[in-house]
């Protein structure tokens, strides 16, 4: 389906119309001022994997309150990986392509009126599908993105970015988020240009948050054979209490026509008072990519820890085991990452 066909289908147009209406409604609403000053963060990460692979990355982000109740967020990243063959080590949310890249750059505003909320985000942002926020996927204890969130497995990618508009409406406990945009991915698995759309419905009950997402987007530009559309539907859930977080995602769909990709992961992080600076992490995941003789069925198991060494230094240690797959081979690796974070 090309762009014209997609627009004829109506859904992106409807999303954009709704987004435009909400944009002006939110933009013209009364102003409340806040005293928070702009914040600047600098993260520097180095890592080593016995796969083997080495990596270094830098992210600089600035965020704060703009005018008239708007908030801004701007981030740039640079990262490089040294490996004899392709590896997704440390590729949890930024492209490792040796270039300075804009990551998320947007303005947003959220309004609360009684029991209801509405918000708009405009600019370049991470594709709002599943557990998509930066803090959910990057340098949070795991040295690799989930299989379903790394482009080379023909699924989604934590590096998906959109140029467009995202709107949220609902109540704090039940919210619908919709976005329309143009893919602006920066890694080698970037999608083709064109209009794409996502919708996500999220409900929170007590300490449990569940959501369903759907995305209709462009296929990867990396291969000529990748025709048609990329379409995925997913569910995700999260529970957190007493320093224990359990979460998971499951997706089903296609990265391009004639294929099917489904799978997901569950993971846990545990940080109890007696553990001091240590947060233990565990993850189990599977992914099935069905494409005839190119099919692959990777599984992966991760155990590790995130250790806060000081107020600015955090280390991550992961044991990664990926049983042998007919097409992809197998992997057992020990991975170590160190991140220095400065905030002003």
């Amino acid at each position: 389906m090309d762009r014209r066909e997609l627009e004829k289908s109506g859904s992106p147009v409807a999303v954009r119309t709704a987004a435009a209406l909400l944009f002006f409604a939110v933009a013209l609403a009364p102003v409340r001022s806040y005293g928070q000053t702009p914040t600047t963060e600098l993260d520097v990460t180095v890592g080593n994997s016995t796969e083997p692979a080495r990596a270094a990355a830098v992210q600089l982000r600035v965020f704060g309150n703009a005018i008239a109740g708007w908030q801004y967020y701007a981030e740039a990243s640079w990262a490089q990986q040294w490996a004899p063959r392709e590896s997704d080590a440390f590729g949890s949310g930024y492209p490792y392509d040796k270039r300075v890249r804009p990551a998320e750059m947007y303005v947003e505003r959220t309004l609360l009126k009684g029991r209801y909320l509405a918000g708009v985000r405009a600019g370049q942002f991470r594709t709002p599908f599943g557990l998509y926020s930066r803090s959910d996927q990057t340098y949070n204890g795991f040295t690799r993105a989930p299989l379903i969130r790394y482009g080379s497995y023909w699924a989604l990618s934590s590096n998906f970015l959109e140029d467009g508009v995202s709107v949220v409406v609902g109540t704090p406990r039940l919210v619908v988020e919709a976005s329309a945009g143009i893919p602006q991915d920066h890694d080698q698995y970037r999608r083709r240009t064109g209009i794409d759309s996502t919708i996500r419905v999220q409900a929170a009950v007590g300490d449990i948050v569940v959501a369903a997402s759907h995305i209709h987007t462009q296929p990867p530009a990396i291969r000529r054979f990748a025709a048609g559309s990329a379409v995925f539907t997913g569910i995700d859930a999260r529970w957190m209490r007493g320093g224990v977080q359990l979460r998971g995602e499951w997706i089903d769909g296609q990265a391009f026509g004639g294929t099917r990709t489904f799978g997901g992961y569950v993971d846990a992080s545990v940080h109890r008072p007696a553990m001091g600076p240590v947060t233990a992490i565990l993850r189990a995941e599977r992914l099935d990519y069905e494409a005839g003789r190119f099919s692959s069925y990777p599984r992966r198991y991760v155990a590790g820890a995130r250790v806060r060494l000081s107020s600015v230094a955090v280390t991550q240690i992961n044991l990664v085991h990926q049983p042998t797959d007919v097409r992809l081979g197998g992997l057992s690796a020990v991975e170590f990452g160190l991140t220095i974070s400065l905030r002003r």
């Binding site: 928070q36 959220t110 609360l112 909320l117 704090p172």
Partner: protein, 190 residues
């Protein structure tokens, strides 16, 4: 010796605007001779009458706590609204008031009552770079210094008082001070 070294200086300057029950005492917090923002200064008054005070708020906005240092009186309920689009999970495990608010979304508010004196260090379980401090004190006479190190303690009765002061990353210091006209309180860390 160390304690003596840390005893703050008291200098002349200003007590202003006599209050119905006392005076507003102005002061400045310094570290190494430079202004010390986010310093908490309080004057001991364990038998001071309980009066309803303001309802303090520790906001979560732009992936940060605001303010980063808050001081409240024992028994005060603090509101923790989430104004970010992402979830937050505020918790305090180390000392002071220990709690875990669980995960909650934008637009919602949770409350915690700080029922004993002491320092609570707060974090977000989802965003490890977020941190804040809440100092709980058993007195109605307290303040937090601004970006210039200045602070004002309202309604302090005349007389000689024992004060305490703390700021992030430093030891707590204490001293005595007499409320007099045109005198301000200077709290100094080396």
């Amino acid at each position: 010796m160390r304690r003596a070294f840390l005893v703050p200086l008291v200098v002349l300057c200003g007590v202003s605007t006599p209050h119905a029950r006392g005076a507003d005492v102005h002061g400045i917090a310094l570290v190494g001779g430079k202004p010390a923002p986010n310093a908490v200064v309080w004057v001991e008054a364990p038998n001071a009458p309980k009066e309803p005070g303001p309802r303090p708020v520790l906001d979560q906005r732009n992936l940060d706590f605001f303010p980063r240092v808050l001081v409240v009186r024992v028994g005060t309920a603090v509101a923790f609204p989430n104004h970010d689009r992402v979830f937050h999970n505020v918790f305090s495990f180390h000392d002071g008031k220990q709690f875990d608010l669980g995960v909650y979304p934008t637009g919602t508010v949770k409350h915690v009552t700080f029922d004993k004196p002491g320092l609570s260090r707060l974090f977000c379980n989802i965003h490890p770079q977020m941190s804040a401090y809440i100092m709980t004190v058993d007195t109605p006479y307290f303040a937090v210094s601004d970006a210039n190190g200045s602070f004002t303690i309202a309604g302090l009765r005349p007389g000689t008082h024992t004060y305490r002061a703390w700021r992030p990353g430093a030891v707590e210091i204490t001293g005595s001070w007499t409320v007099e006209s045109s005198r301000s309180l200077e709290v100094r860390w080396p």
